[in-house]
Symmetry: C2
Subunit: 282 residues, 2 copies
DNA sequence: AAGTGGTCTAGACCACTGA
DNA sequence: CAGTGGTCTAGACCACTTG
Protein backbone atom coordinates (compact mmCIF):
# COMPACT_ATOMS: atom_id res chain seq x y z
CA UNK A 1 0.00 0.00 0.00
CA UNK A 2 3.04 2.25 -0.20
CA UNK A 3 2.92 3.11 3.46
CA UNK A 4 5.98 4.94 4.64
CA UNK A 5 5.83 6.12 8.22
CA UNK A 6 7.46 9.51 8.01
CA UNK A 7 9.97 10.17 5.29
CA UNK A 8 10.61 13.85 4.68
CA UNK A 9 8.49 14.88 7.62
CA UNK A 10 6.26 17.76 6.72
CA UNK A 11 5.47 20.90 8.62
CA UNK A 12 1.87 19.83 8.89
CA UNK A 13 0.32 16.78 10.41
CA UNK A 14 1.54 14.08 8.10
CA UNK A 15 -0.49 10.88 7.87
CA UNK A 16 1.68 9.47 5.09
CA UNK A 17 1.69 12.10 2.43
CA UNK A 18 5.10 13.71 2.24
CA UNK A 19 5.90 16.15 -0.49
CA UNK A 20 7.37 14.17 -3.33
CA UNK A 21 10.57 14.80 -5.22
CA UNK A 22 8.69 15.77 -8.35
CA UNK A 23 6.48 18.17 -6.49
CA UNK A 24 8.37 19.76 -3.65
CA UNK A 25 5.86 22.52 -3.31
CA UNK A 26 5.76 25.04 -0.48
CA UNK A 27 6.92 23.77 2.88
CA UNK A 28 3.34 23.62 4.10
CA UNK A 29 1.25 22.35 1.22
CA UNK A 30 -2.26 21.50 2.41
CA UNK A 31 -2.94 17.87 3.01
CA UNK A 32 -5.73 17.67 0.47
CA UNK A 33 -3.47 19.02 -2.25
CA UNK A 34 -0.69 16.61 -1.46
CA UNK A 35 -3.27 13.88 -1.73
CA UNK A 36 -4.53 15.30 -5.04
CA UNK A 37 -0.99 15.23 -6.39
CA UNK A 38 -0.50 11.71 -5.21
CA UNK A 39 -3.63 10.62 -7.01
CA UNK A 40 -2.61 12.57 -10.10
CA UNK A 41 0.72 10.78 -10.08
CA UNK A 42 -0.98 7.43 -9.92
CA UNK A 43 -3.15 8.37 -12.85
CA UNK A 44 -0.18 9.59 -14.85
CA UNK A 45 1.69 6.43 -14.02
CA UNK A 46 -1.18 4.31 -15.25
CA UNK A 47 -1.98 2.87 -11.85
CA UNK A 48 -5.50 4.18 -12.46
CA UNK A 49 -5.86 4.02 -16.24
CA UNK A 50 -8.46 5.94 -18.23
CA UNK A 51 -11.91 4.69 -17.44
CA UNK A 52 -10.85 2.99 -14.23
CA UNK A 53 -12.63 3.59 -10.97
CA UNK A 54 -10.69 5.18 -8.18
CA UNK A 55 -10.92 3.64 -4.72
CA UNK A 56 -14.01 4.85 -2.93
CA UNK A 57 -13.80 7.80 -0.59
CA UNK A 58 -13.85 5.65 2.54
CA UNK A 59 -11.12 3.49 1.02
CA UNK A 60 -8.89 6.44 0.20
CA UNK A 61 -9.66 7.89 3.59
CA UNK A 62 -8.45 4.70 5.24
CA UNK A 63 -5.45 4.19 2.97
CA UNK A 64 -4.03 7.64 3.54
CA UNK A 65 -5.25 8.07 7.07
CA UNK A 66 -7.14 11.28 6.42
CA UNK A 67 -10.69 12.35 6.91
CA UNK A 68 -13.17 11.63 4.20
CA UNK A 69 -13.80 15.35 3.74
CA UNK A 70 -10.13 15.82 2.99
CA UNK A 71 -10.35 13.11 0.38
CA UNK A 72 -13.35 14.83 -1.12
CA UNK A 73 -11.48 18.11 -1.30
CA UNK A 74 -8.64 16.42 -3.16
CA UNK A 75 -10.91 14.62 -5.58
CA UNK A 76 -12.91 17.80 -6.16
CA UNK A 77 -9.76 19.50 -7.40
CA UNK A 78 -9.13 16.71 -9.84
CA UNK A 79 -12.71 16.92 -10.98
CA UNK A 80 -12.58 20.66 -11.60
CA UNK A 81 -9.41 20.06 -13.55
CA UNK A 82 -11.30 17.52 -15.66
CA UNK A 83 -8.97 14.71 -14.59
CA UNK A 84 -11.68 12.52 -13.13
CA UNK A 85 -15.41 12.25 -13.44
CA UNK A 86 -17.52 11.70 -10.35
CA UNK A 87 -20.67 9.65 -10.70
CA UNK A 88 -22.92 9.82 -7.74
CA UNK A 89 -23.79 6.50 -6.27
CA UNK A 90 -21.31 4.80 -8.56
CA UNK A 91 -17.79 6.02 -8.10
CA UNK A 92 -15.05 8.28 -9.36
CA UNK A 93 -13.52 7.48 -12.72
CA UNK A 94 -10.44 8.55 -14.61
CA UNK A 95 -11.47 10.58 -17.60
CA UNK A 96 -10.48 9.42 -21.05
CA UNK A 97 -8.81 12.06 -23.22
CA UNK A 98 -11.25 14.75 -24.26
CA UNK A 99 -13.29 14.11 -27.33
CA UNK A 100 -12.44 16.59 -30.03
CA UNK A 101 -15.57 18.25 -31.27
CA UNK A 102 -15.80 20.30 -34.39
CA UNK A 103 -15.52 23.08 -35.58
CA UNK A 104 -16.26 26.08 -37.64
CA UNK A 105 -13.93 25.90 -40.55
CA UNK A 106 -12.81 28.94 -42.43
CA UNK A 107 -11.11 28.29 -45.72
CA UNK A 108 -10.88 31.93 -46.73
CA UNK A 109 -9.23 33.69 -43.85
CA UNK A 110 -5.97 35.51 -44.08
CA UNK A 111 -3.01 34.80 -41.91
CA UNK A 112 -2.65 37.02 -38.95
CA UNK A 113 -1.10 36.79 -35.60
CA UNK A 114 -3.71 35.50 -33.26
CA UNK A 115 -0.96 34.67 -30.87
CA UNK A 116 0.62 37.96 -30.15
CA UNK A 117 -0.50 39.26 -26.82
CA UNK A 118 0.39 42.90 -26.90
CA UNK A 119 -1.59 43.46 -23.79
CA UNK A 120 -2.11 46.67 -21.97
CA UNK A 121 -1.57 46.03 -18.33
CA UNK A 122 -4.75 45.75 -16.36
CA UNK A 123 -4.82 48.14 -13.48
CA UNK A 124 -5.75 46.47 -10.25
CA UNK A 125 -9.41 47.17 -9.64
CA UNK A 126 -10.51 49.29 -6.73
CA UNK A 127 -10.24 47.65 -3.37
CA UNK A 128 -7.06 45.86 -4.34
CA UNK A 129 -3.60 47.08 -3.62
CA UNK A 130 -2.38 48.70 -6.79
CA UNK A 131 0.54 46.92 -8.32
CA UNK A 132 2.72 48.71 -10.75
CA UNK A 133 4.19 47.19 -13.88
CA UNK A 134 7.04 45.08 -12.67
CA UNK A 135 10.16 44.14 -14.54
CA UNK A 136 10.54 40.68 -15.83
CA UNK A 137 7.96 40.83 -18.60
CA UNK A 138 8.39 38.37 -21.43
CA UNK A 139 8.50 34.68 -22.14
CA UNK A 140 10.69 32.42 -20.06
CA UNK A 141 11.62 28.79 -20.28
CA UNK A 142 10.25 26.78 -17.39
CA UNK A 143 11.40 23.28 -18.19
CA UNK A 144 12.02 20.77 -20.92
CA UNK A 145 10.16 17.77 -19.56
CA UNK A 146 10.75 14.41 -21.17
CA UNK A 147 8.08 13.36 -23.63
CA UNK A 148 6.40 10.36 -22.10
CA UNK A 149 3.13 8.78 -22.92
CA UNK A 150 1.07 11.35 -21.05
CA UNK A 151 -2.24 12.36 -22.54
CA UNK A 152 -0.94 15.70 -23.73
CA UNK A 153 2.18 14.17 -25.21
CA UNK A 154 0.07 11.65 -27.05
CA UNK A 155 -2.16 14.40 -28.40
CA UNK A 156 0.86 16.32 -29.63
CA UNK A 157 2.22 13.24 -31.32
CA UNK A 158 -1.11 12.65 -33.01
CA UNK A 159 -1.27 16.21 -34.25
CA UNK A 160 2.24 16.07 -35.62
CA UNK A 161 1.84 12.61 -37.10
CA UNK A 162 4.76 11.23 -35.14
CA UNK A 163 5.45 8.94 -32.24
CA UNK A 164 5.92 10.48 -28.81
CA UNK A 165 9.55 9.37 -28.60
CA UNK A 166 10.34 11.39 -31.73
CA UNK A 167 9.27 14.64 -30.09
CA UNK A 168 10.94 17.21 -27.89
CA UNK A 169 9.05 19.49 -25.58
CA UNK A 170 9.62 22.84 -23.95
CA UNK A 171 7.36 24.59 -21.45
CA UNK A 172 7.37 28.30 -20.92
CA UNK A 173 5.54 30.97 -19.04
CA UNK A 174 4.68 34.46 -20.22
CA UNK A 175 4.93 37.16 -17.59
CA UNK A 176 3.29 40.54 -17.89
CA UNK A 177 3.08 43.18 -15.24
CA UNK A 178 4.84 40.94 -12.78
CA UNK A 179 2.29 38.17 -13.08
CA UNK A 180 2.32 34.93 -15.00
CA UNK A 181 -0.38 35.34 -17.61
CA UNK A 182 0.06 32.34 -19.83
CA UNK A 183 1.70 28.95 -19.79
CA UNK A 184 2.76 27.38 -23.05
CA UNK A 185 3.93 23.96 -24.10
CA UNK A 186 5.67 23.37 -27.40
CA UNK A 187 6.29 20.07 -29.10
CA UNK A 188 8.61 19.72 -32.09
CA UNK A 189 9.42 16.60 -34.11
CA UNK A 190 13.14 16.69 -33.59
CA UNK A 191 15.72 16.81 -30.89
CA UNK A 192 17.52 16.92 -28.69
CA UNK A 193 17.09 20.65 -28.29
CA UNK A 194 20.15 22.83 -27.62
CA UNK A 195 20.84 22.91 -23.91
CA UNK A 196 21.03 26.69 -23.87
CA UNK A 197 17.64 26.98 -25.56
CA UNK A 198 15.87 24.98 -22.89
CA UNK A 199 17.77 26.36 -19.91
CA UNK A 200 15.17 27.08 -17.20
CA UNK A 201 14.75 30.79 -16.72
CA UNK A 202 16.07 31.73 -20.14
CA UNK A 203 14.12 34.58 -21.72
CA UNK A 204 13.23 34.37 -25.37
CA UNK A 205 10.56 33.82 -27.94
CA UNK A 206 10.11 30.11 -28.09
CA UNK A 207 8.40 29.96 -31.45
CA UNK A 208 11.17 31.93 -33.09
CA UNK A 209 13.83 30.08 -31.16
CA UNK A 210 12.46 26.70 -32.11
CA UNK A 211 12.11 27.68 -35.75
CA UNK A 212 15.70 28.83 -35.73
CA UNK A 213 16.86 25.64 -34.05
CA UNK A 214 15.08 23.65 -36.74
CA UNK A 215 16.32 25.90 -39.51
CA UNK A 216 12.85 26.37 -40.96
CA UNK A 217 10.20 29.02 -41.41
CA UNK A 218 6.92 28.42 -39.64
CA UNK A 219 3.43 29.44 -40.55
CA UNK A 220 0.04 28.72 -39.08
CA UNK A 221 -1.73 25.58 -40.06
CA UNK A 222 -4.59 25.89 -37.62
CA UNK A 223 -5.39 27.39 -34.27
CA UNK A 224 -8.22 26.53 -31.92
CA UNK A 225 -9.83 28.15 -28.91
CA UNK A 226 -11.22 26.25 -26.00
CA UNK A 227 -11.71 26.52 -22.28
CA UNK A 228 -10.64 24.23 -19.49
CA UNK A 229 -10.19 24.32 -15.76
CA UNK A 230 -6.62 24.74 -14.61
CA UNK A 231 -4.95 21.47 -13.66
CA UNK A 232 -2.59 21.29 -10.72
CA UNK A 233 0.51 22.10 -12.76
CA UNK A 234 -1.02 25.03 -14.62
CA UNK A 235 -2.53 26.35 -11.44
CA UNK A 236 0.88 26.44 -9.85
CA UNK A 237 2.55 28.01 -12.88
CA UNK A 238 -0.06 30.69 -13.24
CA UNK A 239 -0.65 31.29 -9.58
CA UNK A 240 -4.37 30.57 -9.71
CA UNK A 241 -6.49 28.01 -7.89
CA UNK A 242 -6.91 24.65 -9.60
CA UNK A 243 -10.08 24.65 -11.64
CA UNK A 244 -9.80 28.28 -12.64
CA UNK A 245 -11.17 28.72 -16.13
CA UNK A 246 -8.37 28.94 -18.64
CA UNK A 247 -8.61 29.98 -22.23
CA UNK A 248 -6.75 27.43 -24.27
CA UNK A 249 -5.28 28.28 -27.63
CA UNK A 250 -3.69 25.39 -29.39
CA UNK A 251 -2.62 24.56 -32.87
CA UNK A 252 -0.12 23.35 -35.37
CA UNK A 253 2.39 25.38 -37.32
CA UNK A 254 4.00 24.00 -40.41
CA UNK A 255 6.76 24.72 -42.85
CA UNK A 256 5.88 26.43 -46.14
CA UNK A 257 5.64 23.03 -47.82
CA UNK A 258 2.99 21.97 -45.36
CA UNK A 259 4.98 19.72 -43.05
CA UNK A 260 3.71 19.89 -39.49
CA UNK A 261 6.62 21.19 -37.45
CA UNK A 262 5.24 22.52 -34.18
CA UNK A 263 2.35 21.80 -31.89
CA UNK A 264 1.67 24.45 -29.31
CA UNK A 265 -0.79 24.56 -26.44
CA UNK A 266 -1.11 27.82 -24.57
CA UNK A 267 -3.19 28.27 -21.44
CA UNK A 268 -4.20 31.79 -20.53
CA UNK A 269 -5.80 32.88 -17.31
CA UNK A 270 -9.34 33.55 -18.48
CA UNK A 271 -9.83 36.43 -16.10
CA UNK A 272 -6.84 38.35 -17.36
CA UNK A 273 -6.91 38.07 -21.11
CA UNK A 274 -9.20 37.88 -24.05
CA UNK A 275 -8.61 37.46 -27.74
CA UNK A 276 -10.38 40.00 -29.88
CA UNK A 277 -10.79 39.94 -33.63
CA UNK A 278 -11.83 43.09 -35.43
CA UNK A 279 -13.65 42.79 -38.71
CA UNK A 280 -14.01 46.42 -39.66
CA UNK A 281 -11.41 49.07 -40.28
CA UNK A 282 -11.16 51.63 -37.59
CA UNK B 1 -31.88 40.82 9.22
CA UNK B 2 -34.57 39.47 6.92
CA UNK B 3 -35.33 36.68 9.33
CA UNK B 4 -38.44 34.77 8.48
CA UNK B 5 -39.00 31.69 10.57
CA UNK B 6 -40.32 29.26 8.02
CA UNK B 7 -42.06 30.56 4.94
CA UNK B 8 -42.33 28.08 2.12
CA UNK B 9 -40.89 25.29 4.18
CA UNK B 10 -38.35 23.31 2.21
CA UNK B 11 -37.87 19.62 1.93
CA UNK B 12 -34.52 19.99 3.65
CA UNK B 13 -33.66 21.37 7.00
CA UNK B 14 -34.46 25.02 6.53
CA UNK B 15 -32.76 27.56 8.73
CA UNK B 16 -34.25 30.51 6.89
CA UNK B 17 -33.35 29.95 3.29
CA UNK B 18 -36.45 29.04 1.33
CA UNK B 19 -36.30 28.73 -2.40
CA UNK B 20 -37.15 32.13 -3.79
CA UNK B 21 -39.69 33.03 -6.43
CA UNK B 22 -36.98 33.94 -8.91
CA UNK B 23 -35.11 30.73 -8.34
CA UNK B 24 -37.54 27.95 -7.58
CA UNK B 25 -35.00 25.28 -8.29
CA UNK B 26 -35.43 21.60 -7.63
CA UNK B 27 -37.50 20.75 -4.57
CA UNK B 28 -34.39 19.85 -2.64
CA UNK B 29 -31.77 22.39 -3.58
CA UNK B 30 -28.77 22.07 -1.28
CA UNK B 31 -28.58 24.57 1.49
CA UNK B 32 -25.26 25.99 0.37
CA UNK B 33 -26.62 26.68 -3.08
CA UNK B 34 -29.70 28.41 -1.77
CA UNK B 35 -27.38 30.54 0.29
CA UNK B 36 -25.20 31.22 -2.76
CA UNK B 37 -28.25 32.38 -4.66
CA UNK B 38 -29.33 34.57 -1.80
CA UNK B 39 -25.96 36.23 -1.75
CA UNK B 40 -25.97 36.56 -5.53
CA UNK B 41 -29.33 38.29 -5.30
CA UNK B 42 -28.02 40.74 -2.77
CA UNK B 43 -25.10 41.53 -5.02
CA UNK B 44 -27.34 41.97 -8.04
CA UNK B 45 -29.63 44.19 -6.01
CA UNK B 46 -26.73 46.36 -4.98
CA UNK B 47 -26.94 45.45 -1.32
CA UNK B 48 -23.30 44.46 -1.65
CA UNK B 49 -21.99 46.78 -4.37
CA UNK B 50 -18.82 46.17 -6.35
CA UNK B 51 -15.80 46.41 -4.13
CA UNK B 52 -17.81 45.99 -0.94
CA UNK B 53 -16.89 43.42 1.65
CA UNK B 54 -19.34 40.66 2.37
CA UNK B 55 -20.13 39.86 5.99
CA UNK B 56 -17.52 37.57 7.43
CA UNK B 57 -18.06 33.83 7.45
CA UNK B 58 -19.00 33.74 11.13
CA UNK B 59 -21.43 36.60 10.54
CA UNK B 60 -23.09 34.89 7.60
CA UNK B 61 -23.10 31.67 9.56
CA UNK B 62 -24.98 33.37 12.37
CA UNK B 63 -27.33 35.37 10.17
CA UNK B 64 -28.54 32.39 8.19
CA UNK B 65 -28.23 29.87 10.96
CA UNK B 66 -25.97 27.50 9.06
CA UNK B 67 -22.59 26.03 9.73
CA UNK B 68 -19.56 28.00 8.70
CA UNK B 69 -18.53 25.22 6.32
CA UNK B 70 -21.82 25.59 4.53
CA UNK B 71 -21.18 29.30 4.20
CA UNK B 72 -17.76 28.53 2.78
CA UNK B 73 -19.23 26.17 0.25
CA UNK B 74 -21.63 28.85 -0.93
CA UNK B 75 -18.97 31.52 -1.14
CA UNK B 76 -16.63 29.14 -2.94
CA UNK B 77 -19.19 28.77 -5.70
CA UNK B 78 -19.42 32.51 -6.09
CA UNK B 79 -15.67 32.69 -6.17
CA UNK B 80 -15.32 30.07 -8.86
CA UNK B 81 -17.90 31.98 -10.84
CA UNK B 82 -15.75 35.10 -10.47
CA UNK B 83 -18.50 36.93 -8.59
CA UNK B 84 -16.47 37.59 -5.47
CA UNK B 85 -12.82 37.67 -4.59
CA UNK B 86 -11.63 36.11 -1.37
CA UNK B 87 -8.67 37.69 0.38
CA UNK B 88 -7.27 35.63 3.14
CA UNK B 89 -7.09 37.38 6.45
CA UNK B 90 -9.05 40.31 5.04
CA UNK B 91 -12.46 39.34 3.78
CA UNK B 92 -14.56 38.50 0.77
CA UNK B 93 -15.23 41.26 -1.73
CA UNK B 94 -17.61 41.78 -4.60
CA UNK B 95 -15.66 41.81 -7.82
CA UNK B 96 -15.81 44.87 -10.02
CA UNK B 97 -16.61 44.19 -13.67
CA UNK B 98 -13.73 42.40 -15.38
CA UNK B 99 -10.96 44.56 -16.70
CA UNK B 100 -10.79 44.26 -20.43
CA UNK B 101 -7.28 43.43 -21.45
CA UNK B 102 -6.06 43.60 -24.98
CA UNK B 103 -5.81 42.03 -27.55
CA UNK B 104 -4.32 41.06 -30.82
CA UNK B 105 -5.95 43.26 -33.38
CA UNK B 106 -6.32 42.23 -36.95
CA UNK B 107 -7.31 44.91 -39.41
CA UNK B 108 -6.87 42.70 -42.46
CA UNK B 109 -8.94 39.67 -41.82
CA UNK B 110 -11.87 38.64 -43.92
CA UNK B 111 -15.32 38.08 -42.61
CA UNK B 112 -16.14 34.54 -41.82
CA UNK B 113 -18.50 32.80 -39.56
CA UNK B 114 -16.71 32.16 -36.35
CA UNK B 115 -20.07 31.63 -34.78
CA UNK B 116 -21.47 28.73 -36.65
CA UNK B 117 -21.19 25.62 -34.62
CA UNK B 118 -21.66 22.85 -37.12
CA UNK B 119 -20.50 20.39 -34.59
CA UNK B 120 -20.20 16.71 -35.01
CA UNK B 121 -21.73 15.02 -32.04
CA UNK B 122 -19.19 13.76 -29.55
CA UNK B 123 -19.66 10.12 -28.83
CA UNK B 124 -19.84 9.39 -25.16
CA UNK B 125 -16.45 8.09 -24.10
CA UNK B 126 -16.02 4.61 -22.82
CA UNK B 127 -17.34 3.99 -19.37
CA UNK B 128 -20.33 6.23 -19.91
CA UNK B 129 -23.66 5.11 -21.14
CA UNK B 130 -23.80 5.88 -24.84
CA UNK B 131 -26.38 8.44 -25.73
CA UNK B 132 -27.61 8.71 -29.26
CA UNK B 133 -28.36 11.96 -31.07
CA UNK B 134 -31.64 13.14 -29.65
CA UNK B 135 -34.21 15.27 -31.33
CA UNK B 136 -34.56 18.82 -30.24
CA UNK B 137 -31.36 20.16 -31.75
CA UNK B 138 -31.26 23.86 -32.48
CA UNK B 139 -31.52 27.21 -30.80
CA UNK B 140 -34.38 27.91 -28.46
CA UNK B 141 -35.57 31.01 -26.67
CA UNK B 142 -35.21 30.71 -22.93
CA UNK B 143 -36.43 34.07 -21.71
CA UNK B 144 -36.52 37.77 -22.39
CA UNK B 145 -35.38 39.13 -19.07
CA UNK B 146 -35.83 42.82 -18.36
CA UNK B 147 -32.71 44.88 -18.88
CA UNK B 148 -31.79 46.19 -15.48
CA UNK B 149 -28.53 47.63 -14.27
CA UNK B 150 -26.83 44.27 -13.87
CA UNK B 151 -23.16 44.08 -14.72
CA UNK B 152 -23.79 42.28 -18.00
CA UNK B 153 -26.54 44.68 -19.01
CA UNK B 154 -24.25 47.60 -18.29
CA UNK B 155 -21.52 46.04 -20.39
CA UNK B 156 -23.91 45.53 -23.27
CA UNK B 157 -25.05 49.13 -23.02
CA UNK B 158 -21.47 50.30 -23.06
CA UNK B 159 -20.64 48.24 -26.10
CA UNK B 160 -23.66 49.50 -27.98
CA UNK B 161 -23.19 53.08 -26.87
CA UNK B 162 -26.65 53.26 -25.33
CA UNK B 163 -28.28 53.35 -21.95
CA UNK B 164 -29.51 50.10 -20.44
CA UNK B 165 -33.15 51.19 -20.56
CA UNK B 166 -32.89 51.57 -24.35
CA UNK B 167 -32.02 47.91 -24.81
CA UNK B 168 -33.96 44.71 -25.16
CA UNK B 169 -32.57 41.34 -24.34
CA UNK B 170 -33.22 37.74 -25.27
CA UNK B 171 -31.56 34.65 -23.88
CA UNK B 172 -31.36 31.38 -25.71
CA UNK B 173 -29.86 27.99 -25.43
CA UNK B 174 -28.40 25.86 -28.19
CA UNK B 175 -29.08 22.16 -27.92
CA UNK B 176 -27.12 19.53 -29.77
CA UNK B 177 -27.39 15.82 -29.34
CA UNK B 178 -29.93 16.26 -26.60
CA UNK B 179 -27.66 18.39 -24.45
CA UNK B 180 -27.49 22.12 -23.92
CA UNK B 181 -24.16 23.13 -25.43
CA UNK B 182 -24.27 26.87 -25.39
CA UNK B 183 -26.17 29.70 -23.76
CA UNK B 184 -26.46 32.99 -25.55
CA UNK B 185 -27.62 36.44 -24.57
CA UNK B 186 -28.47 39.06 -27.15
CA UNK B 187 -28.92 42.77 -26.59
CA UNK B 188 -30.39 45.07 -29.23
CA UNK B 189 -30.92 48.82 -29.04
CA UNK B 190 -34.62 48.77 -29.69
CA UNK B 191 -37.78 47.25 -28.44
CA UNK B 192 -40.11 46.01 -27.35
CA UNK B 193 -39.45 42.77 -29.19
CA UNK B 194 -42.33 40.91 -30.83
CA UNK B 195 -43.99 38.66 -28.29
CA UNK B 196 -43.81 35.67 -30.61
CA UNK B 197 -40.10 36.17 -31.15
CA UNK B 198 -39.30 35.96 -27.46
CA UNK B 199 -41.75 33.24 -26.55
CA UNK B 200 -39.94 30.81 -24.30
CA UNK B 201 -39.33 27.55 -26.07
CA UNK B 202 -39.60 29.00 -29.56
CA UNK B 203 -37.02 27.51 -31.94
CA UNK B 204 -35.23 29.81 -34.32
CA UNK B 205 -32.06 31.58 -35.20
CA UNK B 206 -31.93 34.55 -32.93
CA UNK B 207 -29.41 36.55 -34.90
CA UNK B 208 -31.45 36.25 -38.08
CA UNK B 209 -34.68 36.78 -36.21
CA UNK B 210 -33.44 39.91 -34.50
CA UNK B 211 -32.03 41.31 -37.74
CA UNK B 212 -35.37 40.71 -39.38
CA UNK B 213 -37.23 42.32 -36.49
CA UNK B 214 -35.00 45.36 -36.82
CA UNK B 215 -35.22 45.37 -40.58
CA UNK B 216 -31.49 45.57 -41.04
CA UNK B 217 -28.57 43.52 -42.28
CA UNK B 218 -25.95 42.62 -39.73
CA UNK B 219 -22.27 42.06 -40.11
CA UNK B 220 -19.48 41.43 -37.66
CA UNK B 221 -17.80 44.34 -36.00
CA UNK B 222 -15.68 42.34 -33.62
CA UNK B 223 -15.66 39.04 -31.79
CA UNK B 224 -13.66 38.06 -28.75
CA UNK B 225 -12.77 34.81 -27.05
CA UNK B 226 -12.35 34.42 -23.34
CA UNK B 227 -12.87 31.90 -20.58
CA UNK B 228 -14.85 32.13 -17.39
CA UNK B 229 -16.25 29.84 -14.76
CA UNK B 230 -19.96 29.13 -15.10
CA UNK B 231 -22.10 31.30 -12.86
CA UNK B 232 -25.15 29.90 -11.15
CA UNK B 233 -27.52 30.75 -13.98
CA UNK B 234 -25.29 29.42 -16.76
CA UNK B 235 -24.57 26.32 -14.75
CA UNK B 236 -28.26 25.59 -14.52
CA UNK B 237 -28.91 26.33 -18.19
CA UNK B 238 -26.06 24.18 -19.40
CA UNK B 239 -26.40 21.45 -16.84
CA UNK B 240 -22.85 21.77 -15.53
CA UNK B 241 -21.54 22.50 -12.04
CA UNK B 242 -21.00 26.16 -11.20
CA UNK B 243 -17.43 27.11 -11.89
CA UNK B 244 -17.09 24.86 -14.91
CA UNK B 245 -14.81 26.49 -17.45
CA UNK B 246 -16.82 28.08 -20.21
CA UNK B 247 -15.53 29.40 -23.47
CA UNK B 248 -17.01 32.84 -23.96
CA UNK B 249 -17.45 34.33 -27.39
CA UNK B 250 -18.77 37.84 -27.39
CA UNK B 251 -18.95 40.69 -29.79
CA UNK B 252 -20.81 43.39 -31.57
CA UNK B 253 -22.51 43.21 -34.93
CA UNK B 254 -23.36 46.33 -36.84
CA UNK B 255 -25.30 47.48 -39.85
CA UNK B 256 -23.42 48.06 -43.12
CA UNK B 257 -23.05 51.74 -42.23
CA UNK B 258 -21.24 50.82 -39.04
CA UNK B 259 -23.97 51.37 -36.47
CA UNK B 260 -23.69 48.95 -33.58
CA UNK B 261 -26.89 46.98 -33.60
CA UNK B 262 -26.33 43.82 -31.59
CA UNK B 263 -24.24 42.71 -28.69
CA UNK B 264 -24.02 39.01 -28.17
CA UNK B 265 -22.41 36.95 -25.44
CA UNK B 266 -22.30 33.21 -25.92
CA UNK B 267 -21.09 30.78 -23.29
CA UNK B 268 -20.04 27.36 -24.48
CA UNK B 269 -19.27 24.41 -22.29
CA UNK B 270 -15.51 24.26 -22.62
CA UNK B 271 -15.40 20.50 -22.45
CA UNK B 272 -17.77 20.03 -25.33
CA UNK B 273 -16.75 22.52 -27.97
CA UNK B 274 -13.79 24.23 -29.48
CA UNK B 275 -13.41 26.84 -32.15
CA UNK B 276 -10.92 25.96 -34.82
CA UNK B 277 -9.50 28.24 -37.47
CA UNK B 278 -7.74 26.75 -40.47
CA UNK B 279 -5.15 28.83 -42.23
CA UNK B 280 -4.24 26.51 -45.06
CA UNK B 281 -6.33 25.09 -47.82
CA UNK B 282 -7.03 21.46 -47.45
C1' DA C 1 -4.04 41.36 19.50
C1' DA C 2 -8.14 40.76 17.04
C1' DG C 3 -10.40 39.34 13.09
C1' DT C 4 -10.30 37.17 8.77
C1' DG C 5 -10.27 33.11 5.85
C1' DG C 6 -7.90 28.05 5.38
C1' DT C 7 -7.54 23.38 6.89
C1' DC C 8 -8.79 19.25 9.24
C1' DT C 9 -11.34 16.01 12.11
C1' DA C 10 -15.33 13.06 13.74
C1' DG C 11 -19.64 11.78 13.03
C1' DA C 12 -24.23 11.84 11.17
C1' DC C 13 -27.75 11.42 7.77
C1' DC C 14 -29.34 11.60 3.02
C1' DA C 15 -29.80 10.61 -2.21
C1' DC C 16 -28.58 7.94 -5.74
C1' DT C 17 -27.07 3.70 -8.34
C1' DG C 18 -26.85 -0.96 -9.42
C1' DA C 19 -27.11 -5.79 -8.34
C1' DC D 1 -30.13 -4.17 -0.49
C1' DA D 2 -25.23 -2.55 0.11
C1' DG D 3 -22.16 0.75 -1.48
C1' DT D 4 -21.35 5.03 -3.58
C1' DG D 5 -20.97 10.00 -3.38
C1' DG D 6 -23.58 14.53 -1.40
C1' DT D 7 -24.69 17.44 2.40
C1' DC D 8 -24.45 19.27 6.98
C1' DT D 9 -23.00 19.99 11.74
C1' DA D 10 -19.82 21.04 15.73
C1' DG D 11 -15.59 22.12 17.07
C1' DA D 12 -10.69 22.79 16.79
C1' DC D 13 -6.46 24.83 15.33
C1' DC D 14 -3.74 27.32 11.94
C1' DA D 15 -2.09 31.18 8.68
C1' DC D 16 -2.59 35.50 7.22
C1' DT D 17 -3.63 40.60 7.42
C1' DT D 18 -4.32 44.77 9.67
C1' DG D 19 -4.31 48.04 13.36
Amino acid sequence: MATNPADTPNTRNTPNLPNTADHPGPPSTPLYRRLARRLQERIDAGAYPAGARLPSEPELSAEFGVNRLTVRQAVAELERAAVVEIRRGVGTFVRPPAVRVSIAVDPRSQRFDLGSVQAALPEAGQGGGSRGADRGDGEFVVAAPPVTGSAQDAEAARQLGREPHELSRVDSVIRLGGRARAASSYWVPFGPLPAELVRPGRPGNLVLDLARAAGVELEYDWRAFGAVGADLADAELLGVPPGTALLVREGVSCTPDGTAALYVRRRIDGSSARFVLHFRDR
